[in-house]
Symmetry: C2
């Protein structure tokens, strides 16, 4: 592959001049400029970005670490980040960790060696230990955390307002007349799951509805657990008239449980769900759900990162909290709930 040197020779100018025409850093006389351009064309010259990075001491690359790109939430996140990055002339180096802390550490190490200009990170939950990220920060590589933010570490972040979203969603159930509302949460190891539970409790408290421990079930964010816990919650006489699921997968399981129990949704049991899978629109009944702005989280995260790269480390970390949207659909707005259910 051709180099500046060869181009310079062919055009009969110095390498400095060639560099100046390709970067546009310093003006070059029209005729020399023409000659250089011609030589570039003839040689099929492609500037070597690696050499440039070495010299300039930045790579125009961003690291992107997510748990699993196969999960729609994260694929949208990545897409948003990529669009923003590209707009600012950065490229994305992507990693999947499957939420395993050792893979996260490895990714971070690799990214440091690659001298990326910044890192977008969805931290593995329950790691408890964040030295790898603070070290990265100390080396002067900015990190912005997406979706989840590690406690006690001064880092930029953009996340979804889980508690508000869950509260709004449960409040909607309350407004529909429900007072016996169950929840299937995700593992309380997960921050997001805890926050959603918190929102649920908040909504009940605001409506002065006492919390019933037996209406709170901890699941695993998988369809199967939605199914099992759904059955558990809905069996027996005094079961909830509405269910709030902490994620979409579990809602699917709940629907199956409802069907098998011969209950009707939403007439006998309303269902609302955190997460707006593409499913929500196609499953019967259409699911009332909290739509998370995954794409935006990625997009804003990348923008925040390039900004941070440009401005150096600021004193206080920026913490964006993005709003969700409550999409009200069939699963909570069928006929009015019956009294026997609506009353505690």
């Amino acid at each position: 592959m051709a180099t500046v040197k060869e181009v310079a020779k062919k055009a009969g100018v110095s390498v400095g001049t060639v560099s100046n025409v390709v970067t546009g850093a310093t003006p070059v006389s029209p005729k020399r400029r023409e000659r250089v351009l011609a030589a570039i064309r003839e040689l099929g010259y492609q500037p070597n970005h690696i050499a440039r990075s070495l010299k300039l001491r930045h790579t125009q690359m961003l690291g992107m670490i997510v748990s699993d790109i196969t999960n729609p939430f994260f694929s949208h996140l990545v897409r948003g980040a990529e669009d923003a990055a590209l707009k600012h002339n950065y490229l994305l180096l992507t990693f999947n960790t499957d939420d395993r802390i050792e893979r996260e550490k490895h990714a971070l190490a690799v990214l440091r060696q690659r001298r990326v200009d910044g890192i977008l990170l969805v931290v593995a939950p329950q790691s408890g230990e964040y030295s790898h990220i603070s070290e990265t920060l100390e080396m002067g590589i900015p990190v912005v955390c997406l979706d989840r933010v590690p406690p006690k570490i001064r880092v930029d972040s953009v996340t979804v307002d889980n508690v508000k979203a869950a509260r709004d969603c449960v409040r909607h159930l309350i407004e529909r007349g429900h007072r016996k509302i169950g929840i299937i949460t995700g593992s309380t190891m997960l921050q997001t799951a805890r926050e959603r539970l918190e929102g649920y409790k908040k909504a009940l408290a605001e409506a002065r509805i006492p919390i019933r421990q037996e209406f709170i079930q901890e699941g695993t964010f998988r369809t199967s657990s939605g199914y099992e816990l759904g059955k558990e919650l809905l069996s027996g006489q005094d079961h909830p008239s509405a269910l709030f699921c902490s994620n979409g997968m579990m809602a699917l399981g709940v629907l199956k449980a409802i069907e098998e129990l011969g209950l009707r949704c939403p007439e006998e049991i309303a269902v609302a769900v955190f997460d707006d899978l593409p499913l929500a629109e196609v499953v019967r009944p259409h699911l009332t759900s909290v739509a998370q702005p995954a794409y935006l989280v990625g997009y804003k995260g990348a923008e925040l990162l390039v900004q941070r790269i440009a401005s150096g480390k600021g004193k206080t970390p920026a913490r964006l909290l993005l709003p969700t949207e409550l999409k009200i659909r069939e699963s909570t707005i069928g006929d009015k709930v019956r009294d026997s259910h609506a009353k505690a």
Copy 2:
């Protein structure tokens, strides 16, 4: 950030020695080695991979160009590629093109400047013109095409055997007793759509069932077109008793059409679909579908690429054709089809 030079100084050895301990290229005496290691630790030295790339003339990076990572098929593709790449010590630089040819060209250009060692490419369909990819090849950067392979260009590829898969699927319908089988294809601009149609025709031909043009409808791979064309196909007296959808999204539309027409699936109308969305398992009825090995396509593609990188351009391009799996579910195996429908 510390450099070899600083490490060398601190350890009281030459830079060459430092390099030798980090790369392990040449043996180093135990004590010097220890000193170097200690210095590295103290300084928190991180080898600069950029400098290394410049020197070594390879980057251990692969470009990955897909149309949209938000599409589950592609996110699995990417995941597979990443897993394989990582195993062989390569990193992935990802791009989305939304199937726009100018974005594909841009991505390729950027990747060339970045001196990636190879490129995994899902070509934008209907581009008609492939000079950008043959140029890349000529520059010595191997490319392997995934899922779709551009005609008349000598390039490695790994794809799914669309025609066989479609044929098997339609054959299954035939075995269930159907003889009036409709198809909703994707745009015939798309190679994959054409191949699936071909498989459909092949299956009918093999069963000596004459092809009826009015049973073939060209859709857009979107839910809405499944809905509209489904209605069209299923209205009227002499409608098909089974429908084959060329992709998952359209199948969802078809289901809706069936519901609105008051038909029952599979009793009155069987449905089989190409693509095994996560949906297939949750939608009612569960959809008989062709599962594509997206992850494997990515994985094998990356392996083929690193192999090609190692071996240089071979004479004949490798063309992997991966098998699909037919998942038979409710939508084709309800009660036996009625005679009036089953007979032409």
